[in-house]
Subunit: 325 residues, 2 copies
């Protein structure tokens, strides 16, 4: 039996991952015991085996999940970008200090088993580790110079995961997710929310507000791809990473105009007409500091796959989520 | 009066900095009150105003130095590379956790003064933040992918210094020092020690052991340049860093053969004959993972200066240190 732990199991990607594991197993392994940690879980969520409701800043919770010695840990939990920027203490405590505590707790299990226990540790980092000015296509050797506290915390976590892995205490990998799009459900307060909103709301017959110019270019992958990245990371031969355990992942680079064209081709003019431009200087300023395009050669050669155009990304939403929320 | 704090004031570079400040002031400012922190100080060392003997992992010591509200902080203190690798807990506690505690203590002073207190914070990082494989000349946008715990800790510190600075709590800069050469005094246990030893020992009539091939290329600057980098960083208009507060510094890239040629030209054949090749596989392996050359355009455009060849580096040792230890 494989013990799987999902940190942040109550969130959108965490729930999709849990549903996937329950339905399909993990890379063919269906003998799973799945535990999840989050500050809350959705009603009627994925029927995983154990729910731990609590905060990763709680040492007792860290101790509980580490002493259970999960074989595979998916770490999706974080204070999001916007809140980390407005609540400095909370962001650093959750996104940095609790990562340190968790890694130390796992190392203690490693040492207690004379080195037998070495969990696979899949950490969801973010393209927020990058800060402007950018290369036209960000290469696999481009520096992390984040311009947000969230990005700094994720970059620090990557360095910790790498060093604990180099020492053999865990077997970790950090994957820098593209912006996940189209997010199902309600809009959230993230500045990136509109990238999903301008597709999701019109497909549901609602107005979708567009706060930026349609020339804005960004980097996307679907929730289904995110689940694929996570499962692929759980099985990857990490020796192939040659010590560089943080990866830029594949995705789709497109402008908002290209997003809208893709929506038009799939859903028609009436749906597109529900997109309402409403320029917002604050959002435009934030988005101007975000990466636009990548050249993720390493991840592609390691077998990671995403959609190849934005039409496919919308199709995933229509197949997996439309009409279900 | 300008209050200057030197963390790691008892070390070789810390002492040279202190002597420089006492003799010349800080960029023309001679009205200085200089405090130093270290686990120990040399007998007959620089006559700074206050010596704090203690460890930065001690919260009481952190509180003491922060509440004094120094205007300029030079942070040179660290557990060195070799010891951080063999003593995992000690390296992370001193090089990472105490940095966090110090920054938090300085932020508390910032908040207590309603934002009036914003110290200049000059952090000595290291080219150990880089890990192989390298570019032929490491550019200013090359990733930090350290292959030692020391390098990971320094890279994390840089990210903390940058984010605390971006938020306006401190005004920080991280300078990635080249290997400092020629170090005066006795050989130490660092794997890089021989780069100094093969010059220093023969100039003092002693055998200098060369554990690597003479084709080994590395990146050097003199102790005098290190002091110059630190003082220049204290005065720099940090707005010019445009949010990227970690800098690769200028230095001299040369092979061991070129080092030896430089020694020959300054000191003659008899001195060079004291260099004894004694290949050491362990040292060779470590050194193979180190950077060889840089293209530090940003630092040069910001006015940082180092020697332009290895002969100058040896001359600095002969002028400043030979016959004095």
């Amino acid at each position: 039996m494989t013990k799987v732990l999902i940190l942040g199991a109550g969130g959108m990607v965490g729930q999709k991952l849990a549903h996937h594991l329950l339905a399909n197993g993990l890379n063919g392994d269906t003998d799973l015991e799945i535990s999840g940690v989050d500050i809350g879980f959705p009603p009627n969520g994925a029927a995983i085996h154990t729910h731990h409701t609590g905060n990763l800043t709680d040492p007792a919770l860290i101790a509980k999940v580490a002493t259970a010695r999960p074989d595979v840990i998916f770490h999706l939990a974080a204070i999001v970008s916007g809140e980390s920027e407005t609540n400095f203490d909370k962001g650093w405590a959750t996104n940095m200090s609790s990562m340190w505590s968790l890694l130390e707790a796992l190392r203690a299990e490693h040492l207690a088993t004379n080195g037998q226990y070495v969990p696979r540790f899949v950490f969801t980092s973010s393209i927020a580790v990058f800060g402007a000015p950018f290369q036209e296509k960000i290469s696999d050797t481009f520096l992390s110079a984040p311009q947000t506290s969230y990005g700094a915390q994720k970059a620090i976590d990557e360095l910790m995961v790498s060093d604990f892995s180099r020492k053999g205490f865990i077997d970790g990998i950090s994957i820098r997710l593209p912006t996940i799009c189209v997010r199902p459900g309600k809009a959230n307060l993230a500045a990136s929310s509109f990238f999903s909103g301008i597709i999701r709301e019109p497909l549901n017959g609602l107005e979708g507000i567009l706060p930026v110019s349609d020339t804005t270019r960004h980097w996307h992958a679907s929730p289904r791809s995110a689940v694929g990245f996570l499962c692929h990371s759980a099985a990857l031969d990490t020796a192939r990473l040659e010590g560089r355990r943080a990866l830029n992942l594949p995705g789709v680079s497109c402008t908002v105009a290209e997003q809208i064209e893709a929506l038009r081709s799939l859903a028609g003019e009436k749906v597109v007409a529900l997109i309402k431009p409403k320029p917002d200087e604050a959002v435009m300023k934030i988005v101007a500091g975000w990466p636009r395009d990548f050249d993720p050669q390493r991840a592609i050669s390691l077998g990671y796959k995403a959609e190849s155009n934005f039409q496919e990304i919308i199709q995933v939403y229509m197949d997996d989520d439309l009409g279900r929320s």
